[in-house]
Amino acid sequence: MREVSELTSGPLGIGHFVNLIRKTIKQDRLFQNQAIKGEVSQWKQYPSGHTYFTLRDNDGQMSAVIWRGRCKIDDSINEGSEVVVIASLDLYAKQGRVQLIVDKIEPINAIGEMEETLRKLKIKLREEGVFELEKKSLPLIPKHIAIITGTGSAALSDMNRLIDNRWPGLRRTVIGVLVQGKNAAEEIVRGISVARKLSQPDIAKKRGQPPVDVIIVGRGGGSPEDLWAFNLEPVARAIIATETPIISAIGHESDLLVSDMVADVRASTPSNAIERCVPDYNAIQMYLSELGERLDSSSIRQIGDVRNKLKLLSSMLKAAPMAGFTKVKIKIQGLASRLKNSSKVLLAKELSRISNFETSLSAVHPYRVLERGYSMVQNESGDVLTEIKQLEIGQRITMNFADGLADADIIEIKNKSE
């Protein structure tokens, strides 16, 4: 309202007027921090560090400035580059010139090119039938895991922690590579090639290790650019060529990369990769002992059944006339001797179980009790006396100590209740 009153009270100074416009522009959010795309022309970087250019397209243009140090400028930006800027409109009152003050500038050609390459790669791989290739299944227990990831990364410490929770001391080899930036793809490919070598039996044998039987290639979350190496063809090809089961574990649940599509298993995160390939050690141990017990008990039961039948058979044989049965008899004798031999193994197991039982029994043996300061009382015929009513005055008793015996006569009997 103030502006209107000024307008009506007489002519405005032009500077004043221009500044009014500037004020309006600055207050309108449409003109502030706006993303704008266009083509760069008259690109000039001055020794002062400021960069001036014109942003244009077929329908319009405007001059723009990037103040020194305001933002990172991609080297590829030059005359003719397609860019997206985040900029605010300002009016330079002295010259009456509007211009864009740029806070951020990104070449869109590069992004566009990357997306285009990715699209073409996916089509190419699909046409080759790569996505339909049979996925190799993970071993029930991994004897040697190779992890290809960034050294010292949070993803790596997450994976290590999880492995140690599930299977402490599980063998693993961590191959440290760059997982983002220009050299990442090349290093990931070389990392996979190292893991493949470690999965060859002869090389593994020389190193005194079991061959690598699971490979995890992964990294934690990041921007699409950070994860881009896992979208590149050389990485995809290296994964496809790998004979050992390989898990792709990149970023978060929502990130789907080419490496995820070509790997044998796609884990949603690096931690998920461990959950997929490392079982719980205790659970496996328990399962195996359960199988062992079932094997023993079912065999013992079977042999028992057979033994009974055998007894029956031999008694029938004894009763039967010998002629014509010799063959059968020999067969049964053979079986009987095998039964004896194999039963020995089972018997030995039973014996060891019994001896374990004995060990625990001996802990409660009477003599152990006597050693603790108690004594055991027997009558003359050797019965152990436990109650007062088994006694009478004048009776001779024998007291057992841990280290010897003593005879005594009963001179008085007192009932606890009395």
Partner: protein, 85 residues
Amino acid sequence: MQISLKLKIKVSDIMSKKKTYDEAVIRLEEIVALLERGGKGLDETLLLYEEGAVLLKQCQEDLKSAEGKLSELRLEDFEKELSKD
């Protein structure tokens, strides 16, 4: 006689060719199921028991063999190491 002959060949196979852990566990589960179902003759029971015992031992050894050290190196160091082999 036919059956026991076939079984003997199977057992000798086991002794000569080491199974992977996965194969061993699957076969062991199969054997336990067969024995629990019952109705097998002595010959077969003993063979199955022997085979099962061998497999169980192998599985337990396999578990132990999965324990080892953690080696962590930069890519180049592994490449250097492997080029020596």
